[in-house]
Symmetry: C2
Subunit: 245 residues, 2 copies
């Protein structure tokens, strides 16, 4: 069961931290009427957490547009413990920085984190449903980079996710991509040193959904332009039941 | 000078047809306050005209969002006379239908039409400025296919166009694309039999603007999904002075 670790919701967006089980931590926004709002799940990027300013801004914008928002800290992120194996992969990634192998090392690390993370999101949806959050039965998911390494297998496996904004990732998640059938907005950076242009384009091609759309913008991995934020909110407005179109 | 051929504006969108010179015909929408509205220019697709239902719907949506809209019939379109050379190119395009050369024949026809069309749009902006339409000094342009065959060289040459939605075209307009510096939203169809995927992606790559964004969707040439309409209106809202963001 989901246990609140904040005594009460805070701020205009009704932010409240929670824990599931011993070590999984997360945050719920829009708690003033979480039961009645459509729900978007937010997966953060590598090295970030539910506390990252970008996550908070994205959650607040979604709450402003009428959504409830739930996010989990990925294993080894946001103060969660790291296994010795995870430490080794992080070390390998750091050693590869500046080399042509860096992108592959990041993808390898993200895939390992994602493997442990995916079942935690399924538990979160179970717990939100048990809390009476109706949107958990037909939620959206939004995640780039590590958030997409988790998102692709999660959306492929989890029938309660009905629309997803995913991006900044290449063919490492090809198998999951091919299994997805719900609407996907896929965001790539045209000059991403971590994900080759060809690999991202091939991944979009492989996404199994009939309703899919590709957005590409100039710039590096972390330089997704601001207008993609509003575009993603508009995407969820088109696809989630109960969302204001 | 622009001469109105309709006695008065018609409908909620204030639609009024006009003529420039002897043979150039066009339509202005948002005439109730054209002087004060930001302006979007609409270029139609091949074989269509300012009378096409899709053009009317797009113009009405823009007027509803606060814009004035101006459109021209391309040479040989919408009842405008066809030269013998244009007839020959249309014949060649029809002969190529169903063959692998069809895309090239369409591109060849569109390039010929565009060459005559571009100076007409410059005259239109001159005349709209003379009419007191302030938006003509910093307008948007929106056109797919033939509308982009006209739009690429027009936007490259015409300093009064400050943002453009262009698409459904490949490297035939590469030179113009490289000369463009204003924000561009480029729309391609992932399975377009008339424009190869590689050619469209290369064209996006060549666009000289720092602020450019690519939208790709599954489907054939004429199957751009409806959500690109709202996305284009949002694009102009971000980039045109006086537009409601």
């Amino acid at each position: 069961m989901l246990q609140y670790t904040d005594p009460a919701p805070a701020g205009a967006a009704g932010r409240r931290a929670f824990r599931i089980g011993d070590s999984t931590t997360g945050v719920l926004w829009g708690t003033d009427d979480a039961a009645g709002r459509p729900l978007v799940l937010l997966g953060h990027g590598g090295g970030q957490s539910t506390q990252a300013p970008g996550m908070r801004a994205r959650a607040e914008a979604l709450v402003h547009s009428g959504y409830a928002v739930a996010a989990l800290d990925a294993p080894g992120h946001g103060g969660r413990p790291r296994t010795a194996e995870l430490e080794r992969r992080i070390e390998r990634m750091r050693d590869a920085q500046g080399s042509p192998d860096f992108g592959a090392a990041v993808a390898d690390l993200n895939a390992a984190v994602a493997q442990d993370a995916v079942p935690e999101w399924t538990l979160l949806l179970d717990d939100l449903e048990a809390e009476g959050v109706a949107g958990a039965a037909h939620a959206g998911y939004w995640g780039y980079s590590l958030g997409a390494a988790i998102g692709f297998p999660l959306v492929a496996a989890e029938g309660r996710i009905r629309a997803a904004v995913l991006g900044l990732i290449g063919e490492t998640v090809a198998e999951s991509a091919a299994a997805i059938r719900v609407p996907v907005q896929f965001v790539m950076q045209w000059d991403d040193p971590l994900v080759s242009r060809v690999s991202a384009l091939r991944l979009f091609d492989l996404v199994g959904s009939r309703d899919k759309t590709l957005h590409a913008n100039p710039g590096a991995h972390g330089e997704v332009p601001d207008h993609e934020e509003a575009s993603s909110v508009a995407f969820f407005a088109r696809h989630l039941p109960g969302a204001a179109a």
